[in-house]
Structure formats: C-alpha cells, structure tokens
Amino acid sequence: MRNLLIFVLGSVALIALPYGLSFSQQEILVFLVINILLVTSYRLMTLTGEWSLGHVVIMGVGAYASALYTKELGIYVPVSMILGGVTAALLAVLLSFPLFRMKGFYFLIGSFAAGEIIRLIWKRFREPFGGVRGISGIDPMPDFSIGIYQFDFFEPVSYYYFAGVIVIASLWVLWRIEKSPVGLTFHAVHWQDKLAQASGVNLRAYRTLAFAIASGFAGLAGALQAHYVGTVNPNSFDIEVMVFVLTWAIVGGTATFYGPILGCIVLTVLNEIVLREMGLEQARPLIYGAIMILSILFLPDGLESLVQKVTRRRSAPKPEEKAAT
C-alpha cells in the first residue's frame, strides 16, 4: 500500500517536473535522463570489477549507428534506436576478444585505446561518418499522439516523456539483472574470480555478458541523444565526457544501484543550475575536478554512503525491513 502510494506520487512528480522549469532547463532535463541511463549502464560494467574508459565512445557507436540506419537505410527511428543499442552490444562482444585478455590497469588503458581508435576512425573517414564535423540533420523522432497528448518532438517536454519511459524501462531491466543470480555472479567475478571459476563460472562469458549489456544500453542512450540533438560528431564522445561519467559514478558511489544516478543528478543540478546561474561556467572543469578529488579523499564510498547513514539511523528500530532486502 505504502509502496503504491510512493509509486503514484513519484510518477506524478516526474510527469509534472518539466512544467516547473524554463525551456533551457527542460532541455537539460532531457540530457539528464539520457545520462542517467548512460551512468547506470556503466555501473553494470563495473559490477564485474572492470573500469572502462571507452564507455562514452560505445555510447557514440549507438548514436552513429542509429543515425546512419535512419539516414542511409531509412529505418523507422524507434527501431533504429534499438538497432543502435544492438550494434553497440555486438561491437562490445567483438572488442571483448582483445580487451578481456587484459585486467585492471591494462584493461583501462586498452579500453581507452580501443575507444580512441573508433573515434579517430570517425574522424578520418568522411564516408560514411562525416569526418571531423560528423553527421548532421539526423531524423528526429516522428511525432505521434497517444489519446489526448500530442507528442511534438521539437518540444523538450515531449522528448523528456519519451526518453523517460525508455530509460525507466531500461533501468528496470538493469535492476532485474543486478538482483538476479546473474548479478550475483557478476559480483562473484569481481570479488574473487578464482573462487567463482572454481564454482564453475565461465569468467570470460560473464565478463563479456556484462560488457555487452552495459554497451547495449549505452548505445541506446547514445541513440536517444542523437535523435534529439540532430547531430553527432567525434568530439561529443571524447575523453572529457568519459571523465564526467566517471565523476558521476565516483561521486555517487558504485556500491549501490542508485549511487551513480544520485551522483549524476546532483552534479548536473550543481553544474547547470548553480554554476550557470552563478556565471561560473568557465570554471566548470575546475570545480568538477575539485569535487572529484574531494569526494575521493573524503567520501570514498560516494554520496550513497551518506544516504545510507541517514536511512540506517531511521530504520534501525525496524529490523524486519532489513531482512526483506
């Protein structure tokens, strides 16, 4: 009963949210929703213990793929978005062959190198990737209407609803995966790969699975972004964006499902509302960098550890809740 109430109130709040915002804030909201999917998919990857520096490029693969499918093959946009995600996942499977020969630091650098190569290929080959300037004039999501609501996809509010539904559905899938025996196996692979292997877990298969799922959803996020912005180019997926994703994940904390989402929301609000309003836009990387350092120094378990401290204190007298988790 209580859960239902929270669900209803939450949905209403999410639906009503854009009406309290200015146009530019509505646009930011769309990106925020897409970034939440990006950072949550990144977390699934980190469940197996591997930190990649190529995740944003993989997102770009979804964006480029979906853009090209609509442009060159005339595929209906929602279908091409899904195909964009699938393309990113398949590329991840392909990349897993060289990359999963490495671990830890080497994987980090290897994933970075692989990402840079992909980005440079976009840059170098004007056909079909458009070179440095990328692809512009990507088909927008076609308008349609459900009942009384008319989706007009030049309006950020419409796109917010559309992307919101897709993202929530994706988050639900990611959540189900994490809470399943498959998710437990990911954790096992992370914490003690030898023991997992001795229990019959095929390490390569599970690492690849996590990489492919994470990449698929990152690709979907990229496709969502491409059809909203209308252009893609190599620089919109460079290492700086990757650093932002990393910051969201680390500031939020990667031990829980909601940690990275929290980090993404808090930093976006801070960034777009606070910093922009205060005219500190130029100092943005500086402040981001400082936040990153301070949080790794003083809050190594992320914002989620603060949340846990508060909720634990509140729920301490009710032990039956703990048993339910």
Partner: protein
C-alpha cells in the same frame, strides 16, 4: 627521396626526445608509487605555460625560464604526491581518479590564466644546423634532443650509482622489503614524483616555442605517453625509451607520408596489439601492476 627520409628521420629523433622525457617520468611515478598519473600531460602543459609567462610575457631569458618552469612543475609534482597520492595510497583506483581531477583543475587554470586560444611564442633562435640544402635541424629542436640525452643519462646515473637511486629502485620492486632496509617509502615517492614531474615540465618548457601552446595540449601528450609505456612495458625505463624511439619513428613517418590521424590510429593499434600479445609490454616484467 633520400633527403625526405633523412629529414623525417631527424624529425623523429626530435619527437622521440620529448616523448621519452615525458614517458620516463610517467614510468618512474608508476613504478615507485603504483599510480597512473593521468595529469602527466598537463604537467607538460604547465611547463610550456611557464615559458609562455616568463619568456614571452615577462622577457626572462629563455633558459632561465625553462629552468624555473622545470622546478615549478617539479613542485607541482610534490604537491600532487602530498595532497593526492599519499592519502590515497591504499586505494588503487583513487590515485588515478584524483589525478584526473587534478588534470581538469590544471586545464581550467590554464584557460582562466591564459585563455583558450593558442599561444605562439617568439622563436628562441632561428638557426638551423644544415646537413644538406634540404635536410636541417632547427637549433630549437636540438635543445630538446640535447636535454633528453643529458637528463636521461643523469637519471640513469642517479638510479644505478647512488644510494637514493638504489632506494628508488628497491621501493619500486618491493616497497615492503625496501621499508625493511630503512628506506622511507614516502621519501622515495617524493623523489620519484619530483623527478617525474620535472622531466615532463622541462619537455613542455623546451618544446613551447616549437608547438602551439594551448590548455588542451596535454591530451595528445598523455595518449602518446601511454602508448609508449604500454609498448615498452610498464615499469621499465629502458623499455619506455626504446618504445619512444620506435613510436616516434612510426608516427613521424606515417604522418609525413600519409596523415596525422592515420598515424594516431596506427600508434594506438600498435599498443592494442602489444597488449593483446603480451599484456606486460615488450620489456616489462609482471612484478608490478
């Protein structure tokens, strides 16, 4: 054709010089402290801006500016060791993340101090050492080559012949066993960080008049340095130098005969191939990492 090859070869020697200065510092830091310093490219950038500020803006003599820049970047290194790497030494990912944060801060400070535009510095010298009509080595580039030879030789002597050099190598190989010999790991970390940063700084300072100085110039430098230290084997100084030379030649020749982007792709692919075939690098041992 022969002249083009010779000229490209000279260019490659110059490229190898500054790359190896940067890469050796990165290897030293990784070896002793076990952290991957992502901000190493920005240390190079800081060295370059030191020359912009002192030599171009304040008209300090060039070599004085370079020396001050080198010392300044060395001190930045000490700051990083004290503020970031020491508190995070039990957090393997932490040092890397903190260095990324530091990278953003340095970049941002450069933008705020000097603007995003590229700085072109008045040339230090226009002289060129001519070998034939078409083959020559600008003296400004010669400075870089000489600096690489001098500093790397000095480093080699320090590591192989002095007490603190042994201490540094000992703590890179086995920090715990080194502590049991009375070596303070904090102290060796400071030395490594100072030397590593100063080498990046001097490379940036000396190349400042030869390239367009801008706040984002560290990016390609760190990518190159990573390629080099992976190919050379993380933790191997000799490997880093050899790989610098090899990479500089491949990259310079591909750039000259095809184009720069393709050269980057070739370089990165070489690194990936090395990682796949021998993840510890061509000269590396599996001791650390």
């Amino acid at each position: 054709m022969v002249e083009l090859l010779a000229q490209t070869g000279l260019n490659a020697v110059y490229a190898a010089s500054y790359i190896s200065l940067v890469a050796v510092g990165l290897v030293l830091i990784f070896g002793v402290m076990g952290v991957v310093n992502f901000a190493h490219g920005e240390l190079f950038m800081a060295g370059a801006y030191a020359v912009v500020a002192l030599y171009a803006d304040m008209h300090v003599p060039f070599f004085v500016a370079v020396a001050i820049g080198m010392a300044f970047v060395g001190l930045l290194g000490l700051l990083m060791e004290w503020a970031l790497f020491r508190p995070l030494k039990d957090n393997p990912l932490g040092g890397l993340v903190a260095s990324i944060g530091f990278l953003m801060i340095l970049q941002s400070l450069a933008v705020m101090g000097f603007g995003v535009r590229m700085e072109h510095i008045p040339p230090v010298t226009q002289e060129v050492v001519r070998f034939t009509d078409k083959v020559g080595l600008p003296v400004a580039r010669l400075y870089v080559i000489v600096a690489a030879v001098v500093f790397l030789t000095a480093l080699w002597y320090f590591l192989k012949r002095t007490r603190f050099g042994w201490a540094l190598r000992a703590s890179a190989q086995d920090p715990e066993a080194a502590a049991l010999q009375g070596i303070s790991i904090t102290q060796t970390a400071r030395i490594a960080m100072f030397i590593g940063a100063a080498l990046a700084g001097v490379a940036g300072a000396l190349t400042a008049p030869l390239v367009s100085v801008n706040p984002h110039m560290g990016h390609s430098v760190i990518v190159t340095a990573f390629i080099v230290i992976i190919v050379g084997g993380v933790g191997s100084l000799e490997g880093a130098i050899l790989a610098s030379v090899a990479y500089a030649f491949v990259h310079t020749f591909v750039t000259t005969f095809w184009d720069g982007v393709l050269a980057d792709i070739v370089g990165l692919s070489l690194m990936l191939i090395v990682l796949i075939v021998k993840p510890t690098g061509l000269f590396g041992s599996a001791d650390r990492a």
